[in-house]
């Protein structure tokens, strides 16, 4: 998962939000609100974390079962994919072998 250029998180009015700036703002108008876990996931995602690493981060930070952590990460990522904030390319997936 790769965060597209021009998306930043910022605390505004006591709430953490993802905003589009520069060219990204031409297509994305508005903001996405982040809660505590969303903020944690966004910070990791911005640094290039994979989906598996995000799940591990949730497990290390919160007292949750793996399937709940996985579901929450999926919901978070789906929201960002639908808003066109991240690219779906997942470094967890093994690279396909090319035929010679």
């Amino acid at each position: 998962m790769i965060v597209k250029p021009g998306f930043v998180a910022k605390e505004i009015g006591g709430q953490e939000v993802i905003i589009a700036v520069g060219k990204a703002a031409e297509k994305f108008n508005g903001y996405i609100t982040l809660n505590g876990s969303g903020k944690l996931l966004w910070e990791a995602l911005s640094k290039g974390a994979t989906k598996e690493e995000l799940i591990s981060l949730m497990l290390a930070t919160y007292d949750v079962e793996r399937d709940i952590a996985s579901r929450d990460v999926d919901a978070f990522l789906n929201k960002l994919i639908l808003a066109d904030v991240i690219d779906e390319e997942d470094s967890d997936m093994p690279a396909e072998e090319e035929d010679e």
């Binding site: 930043v8 009015g13 905003i19 700036v21 703002a25 903001y31």
Partner: protein, 146 residues
């Protein structure tokens, strides 16, 4: 956005974040170039000279302009890229106040030193800009006639 959508968002979300179009606030805000953050104005909150306010004209048009003068029951406003003053903006027309804007990925607050200095210079230079623009229009008209 639908009519009253801005009011609704300011009321429920306590903020409004969008990328305004138009050149009236150039050079501070470019046409669809800067994402702005508007916060609602509470009842007792003072609106000061140099504040950039988000308001709704009686014709339903939403505008983001700077207060250049306070009058007894209203405000005089002008866009940074304009020189014609707008009189009669009442308190009840004001929906919010510009908290800051993004320049690239950097958030510029309206109370930052650079913006405070810029705001004062911009308002102070308005009569000079007005004179220059009117002179320029006269020159252009004179050339068109010849």
């Amino acid at each position: 956005m639908n009519e009253n959508r801005y009011e609704e968002l300011l009321k429920t979300q306590k903020k409004l974040i969008f990328t305004p179009g138009g050149k009236s606030m150039v050079p501070m805000l470019g046409d669809r170039k800067n994402t702005v953050v508007i916060l609602p104005v509470s009842e007792g909150q003072k609106i000061k000279k140099y504040d950039v306010i988000f308001y709704k004209r009686d014709n339903g048009q939403y505008v983001l302009h700077r207060v250049i003068k306070k009058q007894k029951n209203s405000f005089v406003l002008c866009g940074d890229g304009q020189y014609v003053k707008e009189y009669g903006v009442r308190r009840d027309m004001i929906l919010g106040k510009l908290d800051g804007f993004f320049k690239g990925e950097k958030y510029i607050r309206m109370d930052s030193t650079s913006i405070v200095i810029y705001s004062r210079l911009r308002v102070a230079s308005r009569p000079v800009r007005a004179l220059f623009c009117r002179a320029w229009h006269l020159v252009k008209r004179a050339f068109r006639r010849t």
